[in-house]
Symmetry: C2
Subunit: 204 residues, 2 copies
Amino acid sequence: MAESNKENTENKILNAAKAIFQSKGMDGSRMQEIADKAGINKALLHYYYRSKQVLFEAVFSNAFSLIAPQLNKILDSDLDLFDKIRGFAKNYISFISKHPYLPNFVINELHRNPGFILKLKEKKEFPNFEKFTNQINEYVEKGLIRPIAPEQLFLNLISLNLFPIVGSPLFKLLLNLDDITYKKLIEDRKTEVAEFIIHSIKIK
Amino acid sequence: MAESNKENTENKILNAAKAIFQSKGMDGSRMQEIADKAGINKALLHYYYRSKQVLFEAVFSNAFSLIAPQLNKILDSDLDLFDKIRGFAKNYISFISKHPYLPNFVINELHRNPGFILKLKEKKEFPNFEKFTNQINEYVEKGLIRPIAPEQLFLNLISLNLFPIVGSPLFKLLLNLDDITYKKLIEDRKTEVAEFIIHSIKIK
DNA sequence: ACATTTGTTAACCAAATGGTTAAACCGAAT
DNA sequence: ATTCGGTTTAACCATTTGGTTAACAAATGT
């Protein structure tokens, strides 16, 4: 029972830390708040994770490692390019809608502590763009799509999918939309984005 | 001389605060650090701005008020839709490249303190989308572009322009690119993005 | 010249915060 | 029953941090 209890506590800590860190960032989060949310004592928090920094890195690392595989799952598949784009939009928007803090969290902390990047580069599996890149070049050669640098297409794909979610408070404010209307707008994008991209590159 | 000295001090404070707040956010910034950067005493900082919150709001408000006019300047002009899109891409990417922290700063703090949104709504001039919206609908009716919701086109336009800059640390990491290569990629986007959009919507 | 207001500083303070310590608790092996 | 390991807690500590105070300096008005 000790074993499962330990597991349990560790889980409670990680979940609490994830919630707090991802919504308030490293600087805005308090160890006490994390302890409270996990239903434990602050000292116990330090028993499991020596310092705030260590706990934070555990959460961050975990968050980051969600991104790459999710990207790969689609980019590195055997689908036809157009279906890949469609699948990506549909799946990734759903995924990010479930973890809306994730991209912002990662971007902020990557920015806050650039040294962290090196650590990630060593350890983490990265998305494999080779297949995607080759596929695009192939489509260009065959005259199926107009010439475009694969990196640019990738940037477009990600930007169109993520930014409306990452920047939702800004967009809601600028467009003067309420939550429900904005949500509907995002929902529409699950198909809208793919068609937008395909229209742009496909040669009819 | 007292007057200009005051102006001078106030300016030094605002510039310092802007630099610190925009790169570290509200929580990550220290009043002492701002005072140091402004070359003054911490007490003097509080003499000019009663509290951290007040100083922060001054900086934030100022930052935010840069965004809307910049948007309007282009969206609300009399240009042909396609030229408008081209102009937007070229100008806005330049603008944001000069203030790369801005969007992220605004988004984060909007998220951190949603109550702030209300204050902004009252005071600030907002981008005027009417002209842009009408123009798009007009182009659709005339059969010059395929049907698209103006809000979606707006989201696309902003996302394609901003996100590669906002998310640069993430993209550099994912694509495994160094600063120079990435900068070149962004530079290319000043024309690339507009063509991408126009290809997508224009009916030939 | 003198008083008054405005700008500036050094020293100080209370609260918050990350982290530590020493003791208590608890299940399992002896 | 007792010891022993890991787990958990309450109380504590040192430092950081936003903010204040009181005194000094520099303008400004009369």
